[in-house]
C-alpha cells in the first residue's frame, strides 16, 4: 500500500503549479514579443539566427546606401544632360556664326550667348550636392573650375579662362560598397567631362567676338590677340568652323559616354537592390521559421497552458479543503 504523506502531496501540487506557471509565462512571452527565440539558449540554432539577423541589418544598410548613391548619380545625370543640351545649342550658334554673310559686329552679338552657355556649363561643373562640389574628384571642398584671364581682351566674359583644379585629389574618384561584394564609383573628376566643352566654347566665343586663342589647338594658354579686319576675317571664319568639330568631339567623347556611364551605374544599383531585396526576403523567411513565433500556435498553446494552470489551481484548492479524519472526530 502506498502511503501519501502530507508533505508529499503539497510538494507535488506546488511543483505542478509552478511548472504550469512557467509554461504560461513562456507562451505569454511568445505571444507578446512575437518571438519564440529571444535568448541564445532558446534554440540550438541561435548562432544561425544571429547570423541572419546580422545579414538583415547589413542588407538594410546597403539598401539605404543605394538610395543615397542613386540620389547622387541621378543629380549628376541631370547635370550632364544639361551640358549636352548646352553643347547642342552651341553647335547651332557656331554653324550660324561661321556663315560668311555675317560681319564681325553680328558675330560679336552671337558671342554673348556662347559665353553665357560657357558660364552655364562652368556653373554646372561647379555645382554642389548637399553642399559639396560633386565634380571636384576627392577635392570636394573647393570649386573644381576657377577663372583665370586671357591677355586679350582685358575685360568682359571673353577675358575669362576657366581651368580645372590641379590638385591630385581632384583627379581621384570615390568607390563605395553597395552590396557585400559590389562597389561602385560615385563621382567623376570634372576635367574628364567638362574641360573640352568649356575650352571649345571659350574658343568659339572669343572667335565670334574677334579674338584668336593660342595655341590654335589644344588647351588655351591664356594668350591670343584680336583679329585685324578685314584681313583676318577668313581666319576668324576658320577658327569658328574649327570649334564645330571641337564641340562635337566634346559631346561625343566626354559628355555622352559620361551620361551612359551614369545610366549604367544606376542600372547596376537597381539590379543590386533587386538582389538585396531577394536576399532580405530569404533572410526574413529563414528568421521567420527559426525565430518568429507562430502566433496562432502560441496563442492556442497559451490558452492550453492557462487551462492547465487553472486546473492545477482548482485541484490544489480542492485538496487543501478536502476533509480528513480530523474533521470527523
Amino acid at each position: 500500500m502506498t502511503r501519501i504523506s502530507e508533505n508529499q502531496m503539497i510538494r507535488s501540487m506546488v511543483s505542478q503549479m509552478l511548472a504550469n506557471q512557467q509554461t504560461v509565462n513562456k507562451y505569454s512571452q511568445e505571444v507578446t514579443t512575437g518571438l519564440k527565440v529571444q535568448n541564445p539558449g532558446d534554440s540550438r540554432l541561435s548562432g544561425t539566427i544571429s547570423q541572419f539577423r546580422e545579414m538583415e541589418s547589413r542588407i538594410s544598410g546597403h539598401q539605404d546606401r543605394i538610395k543615397t548613391v542613386q540620389g547622387l548619380l541621378t543629380f549628376q545625370d541631370g547635370v550632364v544632360s544639361q551640358v549636352n543640351d548646352a553643347l547642342v545649342r552651341a553647335q547651332e550658334l557656331a554653324t550660324q556664326g561661321a556663315n560668311e554673310t555675317l560681319d564681325p559686329a553680328h558675330r560679336a552679338l552671337i558671342s554673348d550667348e556662347v559665353m553665357a552657355l560657357r558660364d552655364h556649363i562652368v556653373s554646372l561643373a561647379n555645382s554642389t550636392y548637399q553642399g559639396r562640389y560633386i565634380f571636384g574628384g576627392n577635392d570636394d571642398g573647393t570649386p573644381p573650375y576657377t577663372a583665370q584671364t586671357y591677355t586679350n581682351p582685358p575685360t568682359g566674359p571673353e577675358s575669362q579662362r576657366y581651368t580645372y583644379n590641379t590638385s591630385l585629389a581632384a583627379g581621384q574618384t570615390r568607390t563605395v560598397n553597395v552590396t557585400d561584394d559590389t562597389s561602385i564609383t560615385v563621382n567623376t573628376p570634372g576635367s574628364t567631362v567638362f574641360d573640352n566643352s568649356i575650352q571649345a566654347l571659350e574658343r568659339l566665343g572669343r572667335s565670334l567676338s574677334g579674338y584668336a586663342t593660342n595655341p590654335a589647338s589644344g588647351t588655351p594658354d591664356g594668350t591670343g590677340s584680336a583679329y585685324t579686319f578685314p584681313a583676318q576675317y577668313t581666319t576668324q571664319t576658320q577658327d569658328i568652323k574649327a570649334t564645330i568639330d571641337l564641340l562635337n568631339n566634346a559631346r561625343e567623347t566626354d559628355v555622352l559616354p559620361e551620361q551612359s556611364s551614369i545610366a549604367g551605374r544606376l542600372a547596376r544599383l537597381s539590379s543590386a537592390n533587386d538582389v538585396l531585396t531577394q536576399n532580405m526576403n530569404s533572410a526574413k523567411d529563414v528568421l521567420g521559421r527559426l525565430q518568429d513565433a507562430d502566433i496562432t500556435q502560441s496563442a492556442s498553446d497559451l490558452t492550453l497552458a492557462q487551462s492547465a494552470l487553472q486546473a492545477s489551481l482548482t485541484v490544489t484548492t480542492r485538496l487543501m479543503q478536502q476533509k480528513g479524519v480530523m474533521d470527523y472526530i
Partner: protein
C-alpha cells in the same frame, strides 16, 4: 490462588502508560508534520514479561513500550542528497547562464556587441559615400561609441557575474563549514545517547537535515560508525568530519601553492578553496578547488561558471568556466579592434625605407594623421606603442602593457567627427608632404571592407579564425548551447530530486489521516484501560463489602 485484582490494576496502569506514550508520539508526529527533515516515529509496544505465577497458566503482565523507531530508509535519504546536489549545481549554473545569455539577446532591441559591430561597419560604408559630411562622420563616431560601450558593458557584466559567483563560493564555503561543525556536534550527542542504549531521534533528524543541506552545496561520501556518528569525506579522501571533529575549509586569493595567481575578469583575484594544514602565519594550503568543481552541488555549479585557475595560468582568460569562455570571446574582438582595425585605419606605410617606423598614410579633415592607436584606444598611463614597429599597434604592444584585459578599458581615440581619418594621402608620395582630400573616403572604405575579412580572434584558450560577424555568431551559439544544456540538466535533475523526495516523503513523511486514525485507536485503548481500573476497583469493593 493468586491475587489477580492487583494484576488487573497493574496491567491497566501499564497499558495507560503505554498508550500515553503512543498518543504523545502521535502528537509529536502531528506537531512535526511540516518540519523539514522530520522522519515520522513509531512507538513499538511489546507484551510485558513478568515473573511466572505459581500455577499452571500465566495471565499476561500487560504491555510496555519497547522502543521508538525513526522510519527512515538510508538509501532513499542518500538518493535525495545526491539528486539534491545535482539539482542545486545545475540550478546555479542555469541561473548564471540565463543572465549571461541575456547579454547576447536575439530580440534586436538591445545594443549587443553583434548589432553594434554591424552598425559600425554600416556607418563606415555610409561615410565612404560622402566622407566630408559632418553628419555621417558624427554617425560613424556614434556607432563607434555604441560598439565601445556595448563591449565595455558586456564585458563588465560578465566580470560582475564572475565576481558574484566568486563571492557566492566564499559564502557557500562558510555555510559548508557551519554545517560540518554542527554535524560534528550532533555526532557527539548521538553517540553519547546511543551508546547508552537510547535512540537519538531528534538529533538524527537534524543531522539528516544538515546532510541534505550539505549535499546541496558539495558532493561527499559518508560512512556511519558503530556509535551512530557519521564520517564525511570528499571524493579525494579528504576528511571533513571525523566523529566529533570537523575541519573548516578556507577560501583564499593567496594560496601557498600558487605564488602568481592571475587576476579575475574584474581585476581582483579568484578564491581558491583550501584547507590550511599550517598556521595562518605559515600556511600550508591544500587545494580542494578542482576536487569540488568536479563534483555536484551549488559550489560545483558556481565553479563551473566562474572557472578554476591552473597553476601555470597567468591570465584571467586561461581559467575554464562558461563566464570566462564568453569573456574571452568579447576580449578577442576587442584585441582585433585595437590591432588589426587600427592598423588598417593607419593605412599603408608612407615611407617604406624606414621599416622600423610606420608613417601613417591616412588623415582627417584637419589634415592630421592618426596616432598608433588611432581609432580604438584604451585607458593606460604608460607607453602604449612600446614594441615592434614604432607607430603601429601590434599584439605585442598590448602584451607589453602587462594589462590583462582591454575590453574594460576600450575607448574611441577621438569623438570629434572632424578627426576621423577617412582619407588617404593623395600626394605624389613620400617625401612629398601628405595631402588629405576632404572628399576622399578610401581609408574609411578600407575599414568598412574589414567586415568581410578574416581575423584570428584569440584570448586565453579561445582561438578562432573568422570574420567579426561570425565570431559574434559563434559566441551566441556557444552561450546558447551552454544555457540550453544547463536548462535540460536542471530539469532532469529537478525531476530526479522530486522523485527522490516523493519517495522519501512517502516512506518517512507524516500523514495526518494516518496519525488521526492512530490517535482514535490509541485513545480508545487508553479509555478501555481506564475502564479496567474502574472494574478492578469495583471488584475490590465487592470483596471488601463481603467481609
Amino acid at each position: 490462588m493468586s491475587n489477580n485484582i492487583a494484576k488487573i490494576l497493574n496491567n491497566a496502569t501499564r497499558a495507560m502508560a503505554a498508550h500515553q506514550a503512543l498518543i504523545a508520539n502521535t502528537g509529536n508526529n502531528i506537531a512535526n508534520v511540516n518540519t523539514p527533515g522530520y522522519a515520522r516515529r513509531v512507538v513499538n509496544l511489546q507484551t510485558e514479561v513478568g515473573q511466572s505465577n505459581s500455577g499452571t497458566f500465566n495471565i499476561g503482565n500487560g504491555v510496555s513500550v519497547q522502543s521508538l523507531t525513526r522510519v527512515v530508509d538510508e538509501f532513499l535519504q542518500t538518493s535525495v542528497n545526491r539528486s539534491g546536489g545535482d539539482q542545486a549545481g545545475y540550478q546555479t549554473e542555469n541561473d548564471f547562464l540565463q543572465r549571461v545569455q541575456s547579454l547576447f539577446s536575439l530580440t534586436g532591441n538591445s545594443n549587443t556587441v553583434g548589432s553594434a559591430l554591424t552598425s559600425f561597419f554600416n556607418a563606415a560604408n555610409n561615410l565612404s559615400v560622402d566622407p566630408s559630411s559632418i553628419e555621417l562622420r558624427s554617425n560613424f563616431v556614434e556607432k563607434g561609441n555604441d560598439l565601445v560601450s556595448s563591449i565595455k558593458s558586456t564585458y563588465s557584466s560578465l566580470a560582475d557575474l564572475q565576481t558574484e559567483a566568486d563571492n557566492r563560493v566564499v559564502g557557500e564555503i562558510s555555510t559548508v563549514n557551519s554545517i560540518t561543525s554542527q554535524i560534528a556536534v550532533l555526532n557527539g550527542q548521538i553517540s553519547q545517547r546511543e551508546t547508552s542504549g537510547g535512540l537519538a531521534s531528534d538529533e538524527r533528524d537534524r543531522r539528516d537535515q544538515l546532510l541534505e543541506q550539505l549535499g546541496s552545496k558539495i558532493s561527499f561520501s559518508k560512512l556511519e560508525q558503530a556509535d551512530g556518528s557519521v564520517n564525511i569525506s570528499l571524493s579525494n579522501g579528504f576528511t571533513l568530519v571525523n566523529g566529533t571533529t570537523s575541519r573548516d575549509l578556507g577560501t583564499t586569493t593567496t594560496p601557498s601553492f600558487d605564488a602568481t595567481v592571475p587576476p579575475s575578469l574584474g581585476g581582483g583575484k579568484l578564491n581558491f578553496i583550501t584547507y590550511n594544514y599550517g598556521t595562518s602565519a605559515a600556511p600550508a594550503d591544500l587545494d580542494l578547488t578542482k576536487v569540488l568543481a568536479a563534483g555536484s552541488g551549488s559550489v560545483a555549479g558556481l565553479l563551473r561558471v566562474r572557472g578554476t585557475v591552473g597553476a601555470s595560468d597567468t591570465s584571467s582568460f586561461q581559467a575554464d568556466g562558461s563566464i570566462v569562455a564568453m569573456a574571452s570571446r568579447v576580449e578577442a574582438v576587442t584585441r582585433q579592434l585595437l590591432t588589426s582595425v587600427n592598423q588598417t585605419y593607419l593605412g599603408p606605410d608612407r615611407d617604406a625605407s624606414t621599416p622600423a617606423t610606420w608613417e601613417a598614410s591616412s588623415g582627417d579633415l584637419n589634415g592630421n594623421v592618426p596616432p598608433a592607436f588611432g581609432l580604438f584606444d584604451f585607458t593606460y598611463g604608460g607607453t602604449k606603442d612600446s614594441t615592434g614597429v614604432s607607430g603601429l599597434p601590434e599584439a605585442s604592444d598590448l602584451t607589453a602593457t602587462g594589462l590583462d584585459n582591454f575590453s574594460s578599458l576600450l575607448s574611441l581615440t577621438s569623438t570629434d567627427p572632424r578627426k576621423i581619418a577617412a582619407a588617404r594621402d593623395s600626394s605624389a608620395g613620400f617625401p612629398a608632404p601628405a595631402v588629405f582630400a576632404s572628399g576622399d573616403g578610401s581609408n574609411i572604405k578600407a575599414i568598412a571592407d574589414l567586415q568581410a575579412s578574416n581575423f584570428t580572434f584569440s584570448a586565453g584558450s579561445f582561438s578562432l579564425t573568422t570574420t567579426f560577424g561570425s565570431a559574434y555568431d559563434e559566441a551566441v551559439s556557444y552561450v546558447g548551447n551552454k544555457q540550453a544544456n544547463a536548462d535540460v540538466n536542471q530539469k532532469v535533475s529537478s525531476d530526479a530530486l522530486n522523485t527522490a523526495t516523493q519517495r522519501r516523503d512517502q516512506f518517512s513523511g507524516v500523514s495526518l489521516d494516518e496519525e488521526f486514525t492512530d490517535l482514535i485507536k490509541e485513545q480508545k485503548a487508553f479509555q478501555a484501560s481506564a475502564k479496567m481500573i474502574k472494574t478492578g476497583s469495583d471488584l475490590l469493593d465487592i470483596i471488601i463489602s463481603a467481609i
